[in-house]
Amino acid sequence: MINVALPKGRLGEKVYEMFEASGYECPSIKENSRKLIFENEEKGVRYFWVKPSDVAIYVERGAADIGVAGKDILLEYEPDVFELLDLDIGKCRMAVAAKNDFRDNPNKTLRVATKFVNIAKTYYASKGRDIDVIELNGSIEIAPILGLSDVIVDIVETGTTLKENDLSPFETIVPISARLIANKSAFRFKSQAIEDIAEKLAKLTEDRKETK
């Protein structure tokens, strides 16, 4: 039995559809219920929904054998897991954004508001830039508007939220997409089953790329 941690929400539903299309369906998951765990014994899979930012923890600690997490989560928390596949969905980018009229003054410490403290620190350290990280848990866009920070480091999908708040993305830090991850110990004991899943998902991903 392979335990699969899926990220709750729109991305998770897309991910489940990919598993379903690869032959790992579990019809009960589509029933409208409050259940969190779904199993298809015949196919050897057990799915459970968890908060997207927790998927990596479930997999790293072995509660799930595999899972799907955004690259943003993997870069931020650096879990000790295998990253087996880029599923090419949930695509967006980690970017630096600021007010439309922002001009960076390299003579001053840059105040950076973000949920992704580790990513921000690593990015600016690589550029040798002195920053003051302000950790926020939501509504990051408001920080530069109220003067709390000079810039924000956040996920940008379409850029609509930024635009509506008179903000613009200035630099792309890294492209983001959903990744299939595996627990390093579970991979060694269930390698055939996990590799079968990864292989089928890889084929599906390639086929979808070609039809785009």
Binding site: E60, R61, S185, R188, F189
Partner: protein, 377 residues
């Protein structure tokens, strides 16, 4: 006399320590007891060889800066002899103090392991790998010992003309079996398809010793990498004929957090435990840095990660709870406890029933100083 190995007073990992000691002693490894503290400078000078650079430091009464030891190997190899054709073999059972990558705070980690230092050859490497496999077998039948050779990836990377940051990114990608980002990184840094394909092959090839070695031949490694493959083949040739060969696999993702290893590296896993329980490898570079032209190989078993194997213990805290009151004669209570111990096993005497105590039988004193059960068992 209590049998330390089979006594049920012991937790699983406690009895394991005795069994491992007995195993290592059987192969001529001598016990090594070290001080809890070392000179801080010693670790500072060798920080590249520590898994974490964080060390708990403090001043001794004379002002010297000391450290709680974060590592055992460094201390042991100071005593290695340089006799031709000989090795110094030690085993240990020590606590080390390291920062946990998960909690980002210090933890005390109980380690048991061994080191073989000196004129290390293929026999010594096979012996240490075989002892690693036997150690894992003592923990569970469901184990995997993964072996890799750092020389293969190092040999391939030696061909790459890129800065060290790119090379360490490649090592990280190999450690996480991440082929998709490896391809992007190689393309962005002008690394040839041939080199990229070789590294990708190292990521995707893993499994039993015979199947992996056959597939490695087809990749076409050269130079240092080919020498490493040849050494790996020689070792696997010996191990294939040993008991437990089915539990030994080759996996080249064993690359990260192993900066001080230069040849054979290995990690042990137990089914249903999420982390590796054993880690080791060849670390000649550390000896060379200390000015000794010796070889060295060793491993450690992390006993703290074995705690889940102990289970939740018995259903009851004690077999019997004996209730007495202030009016009872103390001498009679002591005799009653002795009698209850004979009849039931473990006994605790209290004046009231403790809320959280789980007991199998409730006993009361009778007028004659005897004990009688109250209600059903």
């Amino acid at each position: 006399m209590i049998d330390p190995i089979n006594n049920d007073l012991m937790k699983f990992e406690e009895s394991l320590i005795f069994r491992l000691r007995s195993l290592y002693k059987g192969y001529g490894y001598l016990p090594y007891k070290m001080s809890k503290f070392e000179e801080y400078d010693f670790y500072l000078n060798n920080k590249d060889f520590l898994t974490s650079t964080n060390v708990i430091a403090f001043n001794d009464t004379d002002g010297r800066l000391l450290a709680m030891k974060p590592d055992v190997t460094l201390s042991i190899i100071k005593n290695a002899s340089e006799e031709q054709g000989c090795t110094t073999k030690y085993y240990y059972n020590e606590n080390v103090y390291r920062v946990s990558p998960r909690t980002k705070s210090y933890r005390e980690i109980m380690q048991t392991g061994l080191e073989c230092v000196g004129d290390v050859g293929v026999y010594n490497m096979c012996e240490v790998l075989s002892l690693a496999a036997k150690s894992l077998g003592m923990i569970s039948e469901d184990y995997v010992l993964d072996i890799s050779h750092m020389g293969i990836l190092a040999g391939v990377l030696a061909e790459v003309e890129a800065d060290d940051a790119v090379k360490s990114s490649i090592v990280e990608l190999v450690a996480s079996k991440n082929v998709h980002d490896l391809e992007k990184l190689c393309e962005a840094n002008g690394i040839s398809n041939d080199v990229c394909n070789k590294i990708a092959a190292l990521i995707s090839i893993h499994g039993s010793m015979t199947s992996v070695l056959a597939r490695l031949d087809k990749v076409g490694f050269a130079g240092e990498a080919a020498n490493a493959v040849a050494e790996l083949k020689e070792i696997c040739g010996v191990l294939c004929a040993e008991d437990g060969a089915d539990n030994i696999r080759l996996d080249f993702s064993l690359a990260n957090d192993m900066s001080y290893y230069n040849g054979i590296v290995f990690k042990g896993f137990i089914k249903d435990l999420p982390d590796s329980v054993l880690s080791g490898g060849r670390y000649d570079r550390l000896l060379h840095k200390m000015g000794k032209s010796l070889g060295a190989i060793g491993f450690a078993v992390y006993l703290d990660v074995l705690e889940p194997l102990t289970g939740d213990g018995k259903e009851y805290d004690v077999d019997a709870l004996l209730l007495y009151c202030d009016e009872d004669d103390c001498g009679k209570v002591i005799k009653a406890v002795e009698a209850a111990r004979e009849a039931y096993g473990t006994v605790v005497a209290e004046k009231a029933i403790p809320q959280k105590l789980r007991y199998r039988v409730l006993l009361k004193m009778d007028k004659n100083g005897g004990v009688a059960p109250v209600g059903k068992e």
